[in-house]
C-alpha cells in the first residue's frame, strides 16, 4: 500500500476539521472502551492471563524459525502447500500464480491486513482477476472507490450510517435504506452471488497453530466461512509472526483477543481450519495454500523492537488512544493506525517515510495498559524517537534546540539566568491578563488554547529571597 504517513500532520488537521468524522469517532470510542472494560471482568485473573499470553508470544518470536518450520511440516502433512513471501510484491506474484494455475477469475476475500500491506487487490485487478471484499466493512470501502481501512478490526468505523446509506443507494442503484438490517441484507444479496461464483477464497489468519498445521480465524459475520469453505481453492495470507505452538496456547490467547478487540467473550464465528477437504468430508477446499509473509518482520527479531512481534492485532491500543480517538485511522497514512501502527509503520514501511508517527503520541500509556500481550508501546515509540535522532532524521532546528537546552540545563547558573529571563518574558507577553494568546516561541500551543501566564519570577529567585529575609543559609 502506498504510504502517506509523511503527511500525518496535514492529514490530522483535515480530520479535525471534518465534522461528520468527528461525530463518528465519538460514537465508536465509547462502544469499544466500555465493552472491553465489561468483557475483561469475566476473567478470573485478567493480569495473569496477560502474563500467560505474553509468555506464549515470546516463546514463539524468540525462536521464530523453529516454530515456522514445525508449522510448515505439519501443514504440509495435512495436504496444504506452504509458500514464503519476502515482501508485498512477492505476495501478489504468488497469489496471482495460484489463481492462474487454477483458472480463477474471481476471488472472494475475508479480512486480511497483509493483503492491504501488499496492495493485493490492485495487483489482482491488473492481472484480470476480480477481488471481492466480503467483510461488510471492507465491502463498504471497496465499493467506495477502494478507500483504505481506518481500523484493523473495524475497517469502516469512520463512516456513519447515513454515509453508508448514500453509498449503497449510489453503487447498488437501489432505493435508499436507512435501517442497518436492511443495508446489511442488501450487501448480503450482492455478496451471495459472488460467494457462489468465486473460484478462490482468500483469508488472513489470526493464528497459525504449529502443533496441527491449522489456521485460526476470528470473525463476526460468517463471510469468513463462505470464503474458506465454498471455493475449491483457499489461500491464507498472514505474517510469519502469527504462529503459536499449540491449541492449548490458542485457547489462552482466545480468552484475550475478542475481549480486547470488540469486548466479546467469544466472536460470533471462530474457525480452526486444518488441511484440504478429505474424501469423506462434504465441504472445504480441495487446495489450501499458506502464503507466509516476511515484509520486514524477520528484521525486527532481536532488535529493540522485538516485543512488537507479539502483537495479535486486537486494536485495543488504538481504541484507547487519545490521539486515534481524535483523528481516526486514515491520518496515520498507512495500513496500521494508532500506537501499534506508529511502531509498525516506521519498521515495515521506513523510518524516513513516517517521521511524525513516533511523536504523534502523548505517551499516556493507556495503550500499554490495555495491550493483551503487554507490549510496552510508549517505550517503543520513545525508542523510535531515539533512532530518528541517531540517524539524523529530525529537523536540524529541533536537534540543535534540544542539544542547547540540555547543555544549558547542565549549567545551573546559566540555566537560572535563562529561566529568570523566560519567566519575565512570558509575564510581559501576558501583560495585564492572566494568559498569552499567541506564544511566539511555541505557536503550536496557542493554535487551540491559551498559554497561562507565569508568576513572573522563578521559584529559585523567590526561595533565595525568602532565605535571605529569614536569615537562613541556603
Amino acid at each position: 500500500m502506498e504510504i502517506k504517513s509523511m503527511h500525518f500532520k496535514a492529514n490530522a488537521s483535515a480530520k479535525l476539521a471534518n465534522v461528520v468524522l468527528q461525530g463518528n469517532l465519538k460514537n465508536a470510542k465509547g462502544k469499544f472502551v466500555t465493552k472491553r472494560a465489561e468483557a475483561i471482568k469475566d476473567l478470573d485473573d485478567f493480569e495473569a492471563t496477560r502474563d500467560a499470553a505474553e509468555a506464549i508470544r515470546n516463546k514463539v518470536i524468540d525462536n521464530l524459525d523453529l516454530w515456522l518450520e514445525r508449522f510448515e511440516q505439519k501443514a504440509q502433512d495435512t495436504g496444504a502447500t506452504v509458500l514464503w513471501a519476502k515482501d508485498g510484491a512477492e505476495v501478489c506474484r504468488l497469489v496471482i500464480e495460484i489463481a492462474k494455475k487454477h483458472g480463477v477469475k474471481k476471488v472472494t476475500k475475508s479480512k486480511s491486513m497483509l493483503s492491504e500491506e501488499a496492495g493485493l487487490n490492485h495487483a489482482l485487478e491488473a492481472a484480470g482477476i476480480q477481488p471481492v471484499e466480503t467483510d461488510l466493512g471492507e465491502y463498504i470501502l471497496q465499493v467506495d472507490n477502494n478507500e483504505p481501512p481506518s481500523h484493523i478490526i473495524a475497517p469502516a468505523v469512520h463512516k456513519s450510517l447515513d454515509e453508508v446509506a448514500d453509498l449503497f443507494h449510489k453503487v447498488h442503484g437501489t432505493p435508499r435504506k436507512t435501517e442497518i438490517p436492511a443495508l446489511t441484507r442488501e450487501a448480503r444479496e450482492v455478496l451471495r452471488e459472488h460467494f457462489l461464483t468465486a473460484g478462490m477464497g482468500l483469508s488472513g489468519g489470526n493464528f497459525l497453530v504449529a502443533e496441527t498445521g491449522s489456521v485460526a480465524l476470528v470473525t463476526n459475520e460468517g463471510n469468513g466461512r463462505m470464503v474458506t469453505t465454498m471455493p475449491k481453492v483457499h489461500v491464507v495470507i498472514t505474517g510469519i509472526e502469527k504462529v503459536i505452538p499449540t491449541l492449548e496456547d490458542l485457547s489462552t490467547l482466545m480468552r484475550l483477543l475478542p475481549r480486547s478487540a470488540t469486548g466479546q467473550s467469544i466472536s460470533n464465528y471462530f474457525s480452526i481450519l486444518t488441511g484440504v477437504k478429505k474424501p469423506e468430508e462434504s465441504d472445504g477446499p480441495e487446495h489450501l495454500y499458506f502464503v507466509l509473509v516476511d515484509s520486514g518482520r524477520a528484521d525486527v527479531v532481536g532488535t529493540d523492537f522485538h516485543a512488537m512481534l507479539r502483537c495479535i492485532r486486537c486494536g485495543a491500543c488504538m481504541n484507547h488512544c487519545p490521539v486515534y480517538q481524535t483523528i481516526g485511522g486514515h491520518a496515520y497514512g498507512w495500513v496500521y493506525p494508532g500506537p501499534m501502527g506508529s511502531v509498525l509503520t516506521p519498521l515495515y514501511a521506513g523510518m524516513e517515510n513516517s517521521i511524525d508517527l513516533p511523536h504523534a503520541a502523548t505517551l499516556c500509556n493507556q495503550c500499554g495498559i490495555v495491550c493483551p500481550v503487554k507490549i510496552p508501546l510508549p517505550d517503543l515509540l520513545r525508542k523510535l524517537r531515539e533512532k530518528q535522532t541517531e540517524r539524523g532524521l529530525r529537523p536540524i532546528t529541533e536537534r540543535i534546540g534540544l542539544r542547547l537546552w540540555a547543555w544549558v540545563a547542565q549549567q545551573p547558573k546559566l540555566y537560572a539566568l535563562g529561566a529568570s529571563i523566560g519567566a519575565r518574558y512570558l509575564k510581559w507577553l501576558a501583560g495585564d491578563t492572566n494568559r498569552i494568546r499567541l506564544l511566539p516561541t511555541a505557536p503550536e500551543w496557542t493554535l487551540g488554547r491559551d498559554f497561562p501566564a507565569p508568576q513572573g519570577k522563578t521559584f529559585r529567585e523567590l526561595y533565595a529571597a525568602r532565605r535571605k529575609r529569614t536569615g537562613d543559609k541556603p
Binding site: W405, A419, L447
Partner: protein, 241 residues
C-alpha cells in the same frame, strides 16, 4: 527526616507557589527540607525527544545532587516517575551509575504519595473551600499508582467536596513536546477533558502535574470559561504560602 525537594523546571518557571506549597506541606509534617539550588530539569524532555545523551547527562547531574538525602520528593508524578523508573533504564549500560540510579529511585516519591504512605499525615494545613474535580495525570496514575493518595488527603479537608468527572483517568492531551509539535490534536484532546471538567460542575479542577494543568487552564480559558479554578493539589492542601 532529611528530604530533598525536587521542584521541577516547570514549577520553577511558571508556578513557584506550587514549590512553596510542597515545602510547607513537608515542613508542617516535620521534615527537614533541603532545596538544592543547582537543580534544573530531570531530563525527561530530552529522553522523550530521543536525545539519550542529553537525558543521561541530566540524570547523572540530578542523581549527584539528590542521592545524599533520605528521600527525594517532587510535586509531579511525571518527573517523579522519570527519576524512579527511567533513570535506572537509561543508565543500564553504566553499572556504577545504574546502581546509584536504582538506589535513588527507591527513595524518590511523588508528593501526595509521600505524604500518605511515608509520612502518614493526619491533617493538612490548607483551608480551601469549594467543590473540586480531580484529573489523574497519566504517568503518575499508570506508572506510579497515584490515584487514592491525593483523594485521601483532600478528604481530610472539611471545606472540600469531590465531584468526580467522567473519564478522569483519560489523558488531557498535554504529552510534553507533543503539545507543541501537534498543537491542534493536543488542543482537541484537551477540549474533551475540559468538557468533562465542566460537566462535573465542580468549582475547581485539581491535579498533580503542572504540565497537564497549564494545558487544561489554557483550553478552559480559550473555550471562554473564566470561572473554573485550575489548581495543583499541593496548593489546595497547603493553603496560603
Amino acid at each position: 527526616m532529611r528530604v530533598g525537594l525536587f521542584v521541577t523546571c516547570l514549577v520553577d518557571l511558571m508556578r513557584p507557589r506550587i514549590g512553596f506549597a510542597a515545602l510547607k506541606l513537608l515542613e508542617t509534617a516535620g521534615c527537614e527540607v533541603i532545596v538544592p539550588d543547582t537543580q534544573t530539569c530531570c531530563g525527561q524532555p530530552a529522553w522523550n525527544s530521543g536525545d539519550a545523551p542529553g537525558a543521561i547527562a541530566l540524570a547523572k547531574k540530578t542523581i549527584a545532587e539528590f542521592e545524599g538525602f533520605e528521600y527525594v520528593v517532587t510535586p509531579s508524578g511525571s518527573c517523579g516517575d522519570h527519576i524512579r523508573t527511567e533513570y535506572p533504564t537509561l543508565l543500564s549500560e553504566e553499572p556504577e551509575w545504574r546502581d546509584r540510579a536504582t538506589a535513588l529511585a527507591s527513595r524518590t516519591y511523588e508528593l501526595t504519595d509521600f505524604l500518605v504512605n511515608v509520612l502518614k499525615v493526619d491533617s493538612v494545613p490548607g483551608d480551601h473551600e469549594g467543590s473540586i474535580t480531580y484529573h489523574d495525570s497519566c504517568t503518575g496514575l499508570r506508572s506510579m499508582g497515584i490515584k487514592e493518595q491525593p483523594r485521601a488527603l483532600l478528604a481530610k479537608m472539611k471545606g472540600v467536596s469531590l465531584k468526580e468527572m467522567n473519564h478522569c483517568e483519560e489523558c488531557c492531551g498535554f504529552g510534553g513536546t507533543f503539545s507543541v509539535k501537534f498543537g491542534e490534536v493536543s488542543a482537541a484532546i484537551a477540549e474533551r477533558k475540559c468538557d468533562n471538567i465542566l460537566a462535573s460542575g465542580a468549582q475547581a479542577v485539581v491535579g498533580g502535574d503542572l504540565g497537564c494543568l497549564l494545558n487544561i487552564e489554557g483550553k478552559l480559558r480559550r473555550m471562554g470559561n473564566e470561572t473554573t479554578q485550575v489548581l495543583h493539589v499541593a496548593e489546595v492542601l497547603a493553603g496560603r504560602v
